[in-house]
Amino acid sequence: MTTQEIAVGGYSKGFSQTHRTDRWWIGPLLTFLGFSSFIVYSTWAALQGNHYFYGSYLSPFYSPLLFVDPSVTGGASLEHAWFGGWPSWWPSFVPASPAFLVLAFPGAFRFTCYYYRKAYYRAFAFTPPGCAVTALPQKNYKGETFLLLFQNLHRYALYFALFFIIILFSDAVQAFFRDGKLGIGVGSIVLLLNATFLSCYTLGCHSFRHLVGGKLDCFSCDATSSTRYGLWKRVTLLNENHMLFAWISLFWVGFSDVYVRLVSMGIWHDLSTWGN
């Protein structure tokens, strides 16, 4: 293949050149706004270090609670922490927020996710901004072979994400109990939906699909491969809606934090059978 001259075919060189007449830029723009909003809000919420707990509701941004400072307004008590009180070795220049100990793991899962890669390569890196829209010029394009080589370790982020699903379901179950009494509140439903949406997103992961059965060439060779074929088919159903669950779960995890935060601050009232 030869490099074409500027006018051949009627194509102009230069970033974002296209003859498309539809509004191709709406998708990347919405992605940019959606991701930016989430990043700004989640960073702000993580920096607060307070109002992440109410009754038995724990914000998913702060789960699991490894250490807690019980003196914080709207924080959890010591019994909720895996390892007790806030550590003395924590550097003073870093805000004392339990969210900092956990957010990197779901963050890594989303950052290396095959769907999100498409979304941010288009909306943030402009490689390309849209289909048949000229990509940002790069002197020596490397794709995912050089600086982005770490994207190949998405499956390790997946392993952590699977662990987080168990924790978030555990939080959701606990949200149906308060002071040992079974009940239900709007927050219980919010946290249960959060764990469910995150499960649909995580279990539809491309790496998970590969590991459960996609890597096999023969699905019928033995009992194990037949079982894995069944799993692969189920994961495929979720995988076909991976983008949908990526966005729903992203929105809902943010909303779950907003809900717990505003209830904890007394701005929203949580309707519940516990009556407080």
Partner: protein, 246 residues
């Protein structure tokens, strides 16, 4: 009947320009019909490649209003009625004349790929495959080699990586071989190195333009990238292979 305006690129590998045409559009016409009308009425020397006119031969690929599409499958009433229709040759391949490009680079890529190397036949002299083992690769066999996916892939289109990346069409061809239940060849090292799987940043434009609706990215390229990860990047897999031989 309504008259529609067309802006068609006319020229060859040395250059050219857009020329304006108009023709009457009847209900049910596709873009290729309109091109044929223009040929008959006002541009007898307009070059366009076509064959089946049924979306199965992949010959009439071009860019219609900036989008890579088959002209025989693009209905005129699917294009905005008040807009001039812009027709261009595929951007990624060298122009021969007007709307016709030289896609022979693709055939040279295919020649580089190791063909199916089947395992020995069963004792009765037959090959046996179960339906669930071939369902997955049947999807890839729908490919009509229109090369719209190659055209839209920014790695080939904008990043000048034709020497390092085979493109989505051949990634799914490789997937159809690698996932084949009878195949015994190992193409994973070449998929990574010679065929450049790491250059694909999975922005899915190939899937979006495929007229056969093959899920190129999710079912072909990503599974291949994951197989490359198994072999080259996953430390646990490396240990398993090294010490347990699996």
């Amino acid at each position: 009947m309504a008259k529609r305006q067309f802006k068609i690129w006319r020229g060859n590998k040395n250059g050219g320009e857009f020329a304006n045409y108009q023709t009457e559009i009847e209900p049910g016409m596709v873009v290729l019909d309109a091109i044929h009308s223009i040929q008959a009425e006002s541009a007898g020397d307009l070059a366009v490649r076509w064959n089946c006119k049924a979306g199965k031969c992949g010959s009439c690929s071009m860019e219609i209003n900036g989008k890579p599409r088959l002209s025989c499958m693009t209905r005129m009433n699917s294009l905005p009625a008040n807009e001039t229709v812009t027709l261009q040759p595929l951007k990624t391949f060298p122009v021969i004349k007007d709307l016709v490009t030289d896609v022979s680079w693709n055939y040279r890529q295919k020649e580089k790929i190791q063909p199916l190397k089947p395992k020995p036949r069963d004792a009765d002299g037959n090959y046996r495959m179960m339906q669930e083992d071939v369902d997955r690769i049947q999807e890839f066999r729908k490919c009509i080699e229109c090369f719209l996916c190659q055209d839209v892939c920014h790695v080939l289109r904008d990043q000048d990586q034709a020497n390092n990346f085979v493109g989505p069409r051949f990634m799914i061809y490789l997937a159809s071989l690698e996932m084949h239940p009878l195949d015994t060849a190992d193409r994973i090292p070449t998929i990574r190195k010679e065929f450049g799987s790491g250059l694909c940043n999975i922005t899915r434009c190939c899937t979006e333009v495929c007229p056969e609706h093959i899920n190129i990215t999710d079912n072909g390229i990503i599974p291949l990238k994951e197989r490359v990860v198994d072999r080259f990047y996953d430390p646990v897999m490396w240990v398993k292979r090294k010490f347990f031989g699996v």
